[in-house]
């Protein structure tokens, strides 16, 4: 080096390398997002598109017909999320903890077997479970009968009280592989020295999990929670595949995604209303944004991180 560079040169290659991703992301994600937000401020009068400000939101929350459906869908969506948080994630963590035991045989087989449903299409999962649980052709009544528990069987997908929980559990079955994989990776990254040091101090087995491993994987659990939250509030496919756009019985499985679809595209004799549909989509966006912000600023920034 003969002389120091006084001014750092503008590094054009960064712009060039970022451009494709930025352009594609803008075209397929950012532009449609803002176009949808914009559409929610309009309505159609005659054949004309008219700007109405926040009128659509006033209709959505003020008109009993719309708000009832919205709160019903939001409530169902919350329950859908709660079931995932209480069932999917603890099971995922437990499976990961078991799989990370060095003595376990066939670990990679179990890992793949549990992860495979995640890569299946929603349509296949929805249809397969609908058949399994069907009172007419399904194997569920027969299997329960074989162990003498036929009395426990009910046409779950057709009963208002059970349908949503049943579908939530089907979704848990499908996606339990994701928290399992993420936690599994986090557990493997814990250095052996720490565990050995703990062992020297007399902390082994279960207490090693609770006192050493769990605090170290907490950031991963946080990430999983927020991924679950976003995925659940964007959910649509499974409900649509299993119960159709009317999310029966009696809207008991209606979540924000199906409510938005029905409104936006219309259903049977109900004509599509892109403006109210966008309004619901905007409300969904706001809910997810608030949830993510609470997590980012309220939880993640306070979480303790350990450097190895």
């Amino acid at each position: 080096m003969s002389k120091d560079q006084a001014k750092p040169k503008f590094r054009w290659h960064i712009v060039v390398f970022l451009a494709p991703a930025v352009l594609v992301y803008t075209a397929v994600m950012i532009y449609p997002l803002f176009a949808t937000l914009r559409l929610s401020l309009f309505t159609e009068v005659g054949q004309e598109r008219v700007y109405v400000g926040l009128q659509n939101f006033r209709t959505l929350f003020g008109n009993a017909f719309w708000s009832e459906q919205f709160w019903n869908a939001l409530g169902n969506n919350l329950w859908f999320f709660v079931v995932h948080m209480l069932v999917q994630n603890p099971i995922g963590i437990a499976l990961a903890a078991i799989l990370s035991q060095p003595k376990l045989r066939f670990a990679s087989f179990y890992r793949s077997a549990i992860f495979i449903p995640t890569i299946l299409s929603f349509v296949i999962v929805g249809f397969a479970w609908k058949l399994i649980l069907s009172p007419i052709w399904g194997i569920a009544p027969g299997m329960l009968d074989a162990v003498g528990l036929k009395s426990l069987y009910a046409p779950w997908l057709g009963k208002e009280a059970y349908a949503l929980t049943t579908l939530s559990l089907v979704s848990v079955w499908q996606f339990v592989g994701i928290p399992m994989m993420l936690i599994y990776a986090a557990l493997l990254s814990i250095p052996d020295e720490i565990l050995e040091a703990a062992e020297v101090d007399g902390i082994t087995g279960l207490s090693a999990f609770w006192k050493i491993k769990l605090p170290l994987i907490l950031p991963s659990i946080g990430i999983i929670s927020i991924l679950t939250f976003v995925a659940n509030f964007n959910a649509f496919d499974l409900i649509y595949a299993a119960q159709g756009a009317l999310a029966g019985p009696d809207f008991s499985t209606d979540i924000l995604g199906t409510f938005m679809y029905r409104t936006f595209f219309g259903f049977q004799l109900q004509l599509g209303d892109p403006h109210m549909g966008s309004t619901i989509a905007s409300a969904m966006f706001a809910i997810i944004l608030i949830g993510v912000c609470i997590y980012l600023f309220g939880i993640q920034s306070r979480m303790r991180r350990y450097q190895f």
Partner: protein, 417 residues
């Protein structure tokens, strides 16, 4: 030498084929009748193309439940086909008002249809038509003749007989009395409420009075069908709450159920599946000797995309759809979809003959919720699905269902306010 000749011949044939297709106009047909794909390809399209060289047809159906949404998006994007299969009433009217369907009031093919047939695809003042009426479907009950003979019951004509038959089949225990589920919801309203209802509200008389605001959904004539539906629950199979429409079709065609509340559109499908003899009876009347009313619902029309570049060829096709030739091919290829034109048509299928014979015995009407009444929010048709299911499951009383529907309708429909 041989090889180069062959190549030469192949090149020449591609050239000829190329010029031939360049002259042809291909009309793409949008439809929700994916069940009919084979019939269009094997019967209707060859018959048309043989008579009209230079016009090719391409039938591209989508799934029934998604059709309206898919079609609307395609029309807005300008990628829809030349010919549009029309849902009856508001869905198509909205397309016409949005400028997507062409005004075809004046084409020759429209001459052979009555005003009632055209009502499904006219503006509210009946001055403009935008689709050629293609077919209607008739509601009723299909039954398993073998099962009836085995249990020893006859076709019921009154409501009391109807329930006596169901009781007897239930007692016998070999067959599920009635195959219907509530999972998909629409069957309860379409095959339930709108099937048996016209007998109570006296067909067109009640329907038009409701439209005019002279009757209400809380009136006895409109609540009574729900009272009958509430009794149906006991005769449906185990787990009917989760039974879907294809489940019901299979249960009946496998011979496990005796009665199937339905419409004539099932005939062509069932003929190939059921290996027992099927019969049909119209919705039983309240007292012996009452006039019977049937739902003879205008179901399919066919119109022209206003933005089509091939308007001339499309008009030729629509005229042909209005002809008796098309009516005959269509009615016999698809027994159960009855042509609406005045042109005389002979039906060969016995079950279809049975259905169409009711047009002579009973008064015809269309489904009560289709014209105008499902225009607003809340949507009366979708609400009727919901209410019919709730009543069958016993979760809502017939009176409450009537009150709820009336409140929803009155919230936006002025004549009912």
């Amino acid at each position: 030498m041989e090889k180069s000749k062959l190549i030469g011949a192949m090149l020449a044939s591609t050239l000829i084929a190329g010029t031939a297709t360049a002259q042809d106009v291909t009309l793409t047909i949008e439809s929700w009748r994916n069940d009919d794909l084979a019939i269009w390809q094997d019967k209707i399209i060859p018959a048309f193309e043989a008579e009209h060289p230079g016009i090719k047809l391409n039938f591209t159906p989508s799934a029934p439940a998604e059709y309206n949404a898919v079609l609307n998006s395609k029309l807005d994007a300008g990628s829809a086909g030349d010919i549009i299969t029309c849902r009856p009433f508001d869905a198509s009217l909205a397309l016409f008002e949005a400028g997507h369907l062409a005004d075809i009031s004046d084409i020759d093919g429209m001459a052979s249809f009555s005003a009632v047939s055209k009502s499904g695809w006219s503006t509210d003042d009946a001055s403009t038509q935008f689709c050629v009426p293609m077919a209607s479907v008739i509601h009723g009950f299909i039954y398993n003749k073998d099962a009836f003979a085995e249990v020893g019951v006859e076709e019921p004509t009154t409501e009391a007989e109807f329930f006596a038959v169901l009781d007897k089949i239930k007692e016998d225990g070999t067959y599920i009395p009635m195959a219907m589920g509530t999972n998909d919801q629409w069957e309860a309203a379409t095959m339930g409420y709108n099937n048996i209802g016209p007998n109570y509200w006296k067909g067109e008389e009640g329907r038009l009075a409701l439209l005019a605001g002279d009757q209400k959904l809380t009136d006895e004539a409109w609540v009574a069908p729900y009272r009958q539906l509430a009794k149906w629950g006991a005769y449906l199979g185990d787990g009917f709450e989760a039974q879907t429409y294809p489940d019901s079709q299979n249960i009946f065609t496998l011979g496990r159920a005796a009665v199937y509340p339905t419409g004539s559109w099932e005939i062509s499908g069932f003929n190939g599946l059921a290996d027992f003899e099927m019969g049909a009876f119209y919705p039983p009347v309240q007292n012996a000797g009452d006039t019977c009313y049937i739902s003879d619902h205008t179901d399919i029309g066919i119109g022209m995309n206003a933005a089509t570049p091939n308007a001339e060829a499309a008009t030729v096709f629509l005229n042909w759809v209005g002809s008796s030739e098309f009516a005959t091919i269509f009615a016999n290829a698809l027994p159960g979809f009855f042509p609406l034109s005045d042109a005389p048509v002979t039906l060969e299928d016995p079950l279809a003959q049975e259905f169409i014979s009711w047009r002579g015995e009973c008064e015809s009407t269309i489904r009560s919720t289709y014209q105008v009444l499902s225009r607003g929010t809340p949507n009366l048709e979708n609400d009727t699905w919901n209410a019919s299911v709730a009543v069958i499951k016993g979760e809502e009383s017939p009176e409450d269902a009537g009150k709820r529907l009336q409140a929803g309708l009155a919230s936006w429909y002025e004549p009912q306010q």
